[in-house]
Symmetry: D3
Subunit: 248 residues, 6 copies
């Protein structure tokens, strides 16, 4: 099985975190292609940045999906995932979507722990879009300057654990979601230090993508996830244009 | 990996359907123990029947969980699953819960196709309990006398396909959930005949249980899924009593 | 009028509290049969315990309903109530259900005051199942070790009043629900000490059960509260089996 | 016990229907004062008409509440009920509020059957205000010219039964609410002809008002149902002015 | 363009605030008629007071609408607005409704800052009626004795700014709504001192009323905002009676 | 006042419709700059197409906003609007957002009439994102092949009117939203032929943008609509990069 894993951001150190956790999580026999966005920002925290990340991810997916069995969008917020799902006949899994699926399988009410104050609104809206707001016990976040996305989990590990603990004790969280690719792998390393199950988005996305491939649910040929209708277009990247022009 | 799969009903022919689909879905190396409820009804369609099924399933889980890595409750409605999750330190996955996770990963709005009019309320309430009501496009059901749960999918295959089709065309379903253990395996056999992805509860539950085992999210030692507090009890089956009396 | 009142737990002292409050609340001419679960736990705080309590309550109802005009399930969380409603052609009222009805009649937003941290999730899910989440201003709870359910209201009376007060002042509660059979009768004894109306689950259930009997709304012969369809069963308690086999 | 029952409309024939059903429903020993609005319209179907009815009802309540134990607002839509609850230290029950309480006690999903197309929006908004929208399976209505509110149930009885039947069969209603004072008493006369329990607003309101009096939940001295704060006013009817000026 | 602006309260000093802010906000060429309720209370804080204000506003609208292009109800809570909309073929805009429209256009989550504790429930219910509860980040309020509605913004300006600040920093508000006619104009005077956009209800209502007049969406001749059906009435103010008797 | 109006699609004929309706709607003194996306598709119907449109719109806004007082995103679905709002210190109004504001000001429940089956999911999700789902009575759509977006309203005018009529009669719509830039101006031309108010997205957006400019609510300097935090980026269009690098 081959999975295409896309970091919608330009940060190579975050891509490294994603790759490492993806490799630790993948089943034997799963091969991973891990890509970094060629343009965009270091780390998506806002709606504006998500627009850029979505377009970059869409292009990478159009260009590189060939030969893969599923696509993973490895940024919380799932920039572009829902659109790519229309474009490709294979499963597409976003990191928030995957984390929500895991949290749903582990308990009723989850809390999200995130790396910055600014990112909270974007996460909240993503959770709302998936209809999971009523299951979110709380959203807590680091409120400190970050030296960079790639080193958050080392530098702020203790504060992150405190936030997790507060979610359990004060907010009634039954599951914790450590949100954002910069925290990829942290759940694994804090095993046993948090009193409820902890969800990692990257490993969840890898595993759920594998499951969808195995379950063979079929591709959409009608409805809102079928290939978009043929229509005039202009100025699109060649790989995207080719897909839109393909016979259907 | 060893999974304990429990049919909360007394119907051996449905257990056979469950076992067959579970085996087809499981990863290499996964071993399955498949049990049938020793008491109860042929097929849970109502809240009253679910009370019986939940208690039977709880007992089986308490008695047989030892040596397994996860439990699958193989009836739509997830009779007992949420309670068993408190009792055991391993993942517990219900069939509705699993099907909803798959549907969530495949699209925004799903429809459920069920085998009887009577079962609709019970399913609707289960979906509500998980907070997925707003993502349900519709719930359609067979409205014909059934000769037995084990033969529904053969006898009513054409009508079931018509219902699926109506969900897509009239209700805007982006994913179809074929609901209930009696339909286990049907999704696989109608592949390519339905215009959107189709979800099977049994195979989803097997795969998602495997994923939770692999992801190692940790067990709850606090919050509402930790082991229930020690307290007086009376008249409980020995296996259940033993677990409640275990030191914690 | 004869009411069958079932304590889904094994605690005789709580049964005594229930009986006392039920007798104080009942209209002249109402006769009460008050039963204690023959098996189960001392006090339901979790989903797992509720599974046991539901099955015990279902059995008692099947066995003893004859000759009664309505059934009251006297535990917050309403273990088994919804299933018993399918089984019997008479009104069935749960304690949460009744308390919510009273709260709804007295104001828009209510708070629940409960006796333990662990019980909060189970109550929250019960309120959600009835669709009353948006009317709940808050849920506060004692967070202290209890010597036993039968003595909570004496031992923790002051703290309980403080919690009620906080619900009014800080959470905007317009009504307080004192939740759980161990608090039966407390509302009556704190009359005048809380600044908003206070609801007791047991007395509410008795009164509302009487009302349903008087209103004669008719029994369900179709829909999801009609008698479950005839089907094979095995190993059920005789009284339950007889009802399932009755002609309909 | 003495109940003040107010018809917020000017229609004496509807008052007669209300009085007759109220007397049939009341417990022995309950005395009823039944009043008709001195100004307003024949039958509230719209928000504008409800404004008039609310003010008329508020005046009657202020003037006549003395010596009564509870107030019943006998029009679906509960014109003025929530405001009167602030003004008086006794329970106040609206007809929709009471019908919803009964429906909640009898099942999960109810349908409303109403007497005109125009009235649907007003009922829908009232149900929304109480937070019961998610429990409403459907709202169906007569769509024919009415000769007058007092004769609707005789003239359109067969069509009303057809609507009830459609709610059960097509919409999944578990309870039917026959809505509006012009249908007062109809539930009683169609007993046994509808396959699920049927709720009458007037008898529900009488019984629930009696229950609240018996339960003695206490009056609000704080929060949003306490007496409104003292402040300048002008031009109010004397009985209302007197209450606002009373020391508190 | 001529706008009829109605203060549903008897307070002339609040009317002066409304008039001043309305004049500052209106487009060139817009003429304003500003009226004060002839009966009622100084300032609506409760549901009971809103019933009085609604009836007074309805009468003023019926009497004075002639020759105007739209009506503005200048009290938060929109007393009577929805009913007047049925009565008149011109746009009717309430102050809450307008503030919510502005907040919706400026961001996702807004907070309301109000002038008293008591008013919170009434505002909360108004927001719920419009379906905006999920977009409300918080509702904060002054909790101090007021010398009068006309001087709140001068006397409590600093505390109001602190509340706004807390909404942004602690509650995640993206927009602040300064609620209530007594705060009319405050938004303008604190420009630049609050870190997110600030909405004023009066100026929003004036502008949105002008927009609706300009957009010419047409009047309702069917549905729930069409003129109420002709029917008997009694004791209504002449202007209201005339409108109800007008041919349609 | 100068408004920047962006068509997120490449279709010049739709831009012409937008410009014409925008000019008819704008107040005297308002100047319009109307731009067409330099790349993208002819008409956004899907999430994938919206990703492309959002990025194109973001670029145009970054490049051309200078000297304008507000931005209008002239495609239903509001591709990019929420992100642009973060980037610019001036009001940004999307066409769906504006139409929802108008509908909210005109009544409680609206229906959307759209030009294709495929577009329904995208619109539904946009309405959900704004939290307006509960106020949507229905969404109906043309289900016929279109020769092109620029001629829909001429070719299918009768069918569109039939859909509007069905929304009013069958779905209880109190307001109709004619959705999509290809229908720009239709509301105006069918004035008087539909029984409830009709909302046009383009004219609503123009008017509401003007209002926000006039109301001067202030720009966000904190919270989720403040300028995104400074961080590394790569490969962005120069105008966008310049804004991200600007001192703040």
């Amino acid at each position: 099985m081959r999975l295409l894993v896309i970091n919608p951001n330009i940060s190579d150190d975050v891509t490294a975190l994603i790759r490492a956790e993806a490799q630790r999580s993948a089943s034997p026999g799963t091969e991973l292609t891990v890509l970094t966005a060629p343009f965009g920002v270091a780390y998506i925290e806002t709606r504006m940045e998500a627009i850029v990340g979505a377009y970059a991810t869409l292009q990478l997916a159009a260009e590189h999906a060939e030969g893969h069995d599923a696509v993973v969008v490895a940024a919380f917020g799932d920039a572009g995932a829902d659109g790519i799902r229309e474009l490709l006949p294979i499963p597409v899994v976003g990191m928030t979507q995957a984390a929500l699926a895991s949290a749903h399988l582990l308990g009723r009410r989850f809390s999200i722990v995130a790396i910055s104050r600014r990112i909270a609104a974007w996460y909240r809206e993503t959770v709302h879009a998936y209809g999971f707001t009523d299951r979110m016990a709380s959203l807590r976040f680091l409120d400190r300057p970050l030296s960079g996305p790639g080193s958050v989990q080392q530098e702020h590990r203790d504060r992150l654990l405190e936030l997790c603990d507060a979610c359990v004790r004060e907010d009634g969280a039954e599951v914790i979601v450590l949100a954002g690719a910069p925290l990829a792998g942290l759940a694994r390393s804090v095993a046993g230090q948090i009193a409820v199950p902890v969800v990692d988005g990257v490993s969840s996305a890898i595993r759920h993508a594998e499951s969808l491939v195995a379950l063979q649910p079929g591709a959409a040929t009608a409805g809102s996830y079928a290939m978009p209708p043929a229509k005039p277009h202009r100025g699109l990247p060649p790989a995207l244009a080719r897909r839109l022009d393909a016979p259907r």
